[in-house]
């Protein structure tokens, strides 16, 4: 059971003079339960790629398989696919429309044809999961702050009980605290429910401490695919694509170069802190 992309290419506006090749020969296998970070510069094709995954766009060539079935077969049930592969778009403003938050979250499950009781249960459950305070349940979604709107948007998709949960830049436009809250929330959801999560971001710091695997896109091509530690080692390549590894990786590497015995594979602040303290401790012991 997994998501497979086999030689997938996609072009916008095929057959016009504006034709634009957004994805070139992408091959990816995503097993169940993995937390994947999809990273790339603006315009590298991240949003295009994830829209292919739930059938909103059809590949110009190549195939996409979900649980062993080609999602673009003419008899494939794409409506069910969209509930199984849930996609939260970048701007919550594009999906919120109901008069209150609770009703808005009900919208997805209602479209699945569930009965009212089940719909309400799911909406309540989803709102609990995104930790939105009860005070907001019956407020207009348009009166909420950016971070709260995003929570409601996430709950709107969660309520459809997806098996694969895709989020397009869920931290864009949030302050550092808001970003961290959202990311922690997503990480916990993934741990608790065991669903596959694909997190799109152009920020390395965002994903470093949360994901199992990183996919790096550049100009429509998949350039790297590996664990955060492996990917962040290739600082040179990353900077050629206009990306930067998390700041701490540069610090630990610099320390190591200066002869300080730290482990230079640390990629998060807490890992760096640990190895630096460790090195200091040994240094003091030796003196």
């Amino acid at each position: 059971m997994s998501l497979i992309l086999d030689h997938v290419s996609y072009s916008y506006d095929v057959g016009t003079s504006y034709k634009q090749e957004a994805l070139k020969d992408i091959n990816i296998v995503i097993p169940d339960g993995q937390f994947v970070g999809l990273i790339g510069h603006t315009g590298s094709g991240k949003s295009t790629l994830i829209q292919l995954l739930n059938g909103l766009l059809k590949p110009t060539s190549g195939n996409i398989y979900y649980n062993g079935q080609d999602i673009n077969d003419s008899d494939y049930d794409r409506k069910t696919l969209r509930s199984k592969v849930g996609l939260v778009f970048q701007y919550p403003e594009h999906q919120l429309f109901e008069e209150n938050v609770f009703k808005d979250v009900c919208f997805g499950p209602k479209n699945l044809g569930l009965d009212e009781k089940e719909v309400n249960l799911r909406a309540y459950d989803a709102l609990e999961k995104v930790k939105l305070s009860h005070d907001y349940f019956y407020q207009s979604p348009f009166d909420l702050s950016g971070g709260q709107k995003r929570r409601v948007a996430i709950a709107g998709i969660l309520a459809m009980k997806p098996e694969v949960f895709i989020l397009d830049e869920p931290t864009a436009g949030l302050d550092p605290k808001g970003s961290e809250e959202i990311l922690t929330l997503i990480k916990n959801l993934q741990k608790d429910t065991g669903m596959t999560v694909i997190l799109v971001s152009h920020n390395m710091e965002d994903v470093a401490s949360y994901v199992d695997r990183i996919l790096v896109m550049n100009k429509g091509e998949l350039k790297m695919d590996g664990s955060p530690k492996d990917v962040f080692k290739k600082t040179e390549e990353l900077s050629n694509m206009g990306l930067r590894a998390p700041e701490v990786t540069y610090i630990v590497r610099e320390l190591r170069k200066k002869g300080f015995p730290v482990d230079d594979s640390a990629i998060t602040v807490s890992e760096a802190k640990e190895t630096i303290l460790n090195a200091l401790y040994h240094k003091i012991l030796n003196e």
């Binding site: 594009h94 999906q95 919208f107």
Partner: protein, 268 residues
Amino acid sequence: MFKDMTLGQYYPIDSPIHRLDARSKFVGTVIYIVSVFMVNNYIGYLIAIAALLTFIAISRVPIKFMVKGMKSIVVLMIFAGLFNLFLVQGEVVWSWWILSITKEGIDTAIKMVLRLALLIMGSSIMTLTTTPTSLTDGLESLFKPLNVIKIPVHEIAMMMTIALRFIPILTEEMDKIMKAQMARGVDFEAKGLIKKAKSMIPLLVPLFISAFRRANDLAMAMEARCYRGGKGRTKMKPLKYHWNDAVAFLIMCGYLALCIIFGRGVLE
């Protein structure tokens, strides 16, 4: 990205017609429309067709783009043709049951269809070679005299420009909203009128909210730059009347004269 800057019709290349002042093109188009209504014999139509083909050639816009514009009125043309063909009274040349075709009927039908085709193609030369912004600029300048009778020409033109500029933005926005709602299981292909109307609500609410927000932002940005309506306002790209505009105008006058001299008169 370029696609977003232009709207629908405009065909972005460089040609003598593209370079003309928008006002010249507007006046030229009006002259052409007048000529098409004035001519009433086949020599006149031949002159009008020849002129049209010449203009198209000079504009370097592929003719298929002109023909595309006619698609929308094909039905109208067929109806106009058929009605005239069968309903005009006169010398009968063919008849069957209650239907009969007259010589005069054939004549009016051909002329009617030709006239419609020429009108559409003639005016599409203007829209294909002029950006919507310079067109509204041109119209503003041409209609400026109406200020005297208290018609807010500048404001109307500004509203048109903004509306035109926002169409591609809102189209893109609509596309995104549609996808976001499809990801939540909305079925935009649903059958039945009520279902269809219902599926529009999740689309229209975010679209309107976004449109109002953008309008608000734009108003704020205009205020911040001290926009105070048209009075005393200068343009970044002022319209300039060049010698080629004068030449174009003279050519159009010559053409109109030709139509009046040779293109009017009874059949035969």
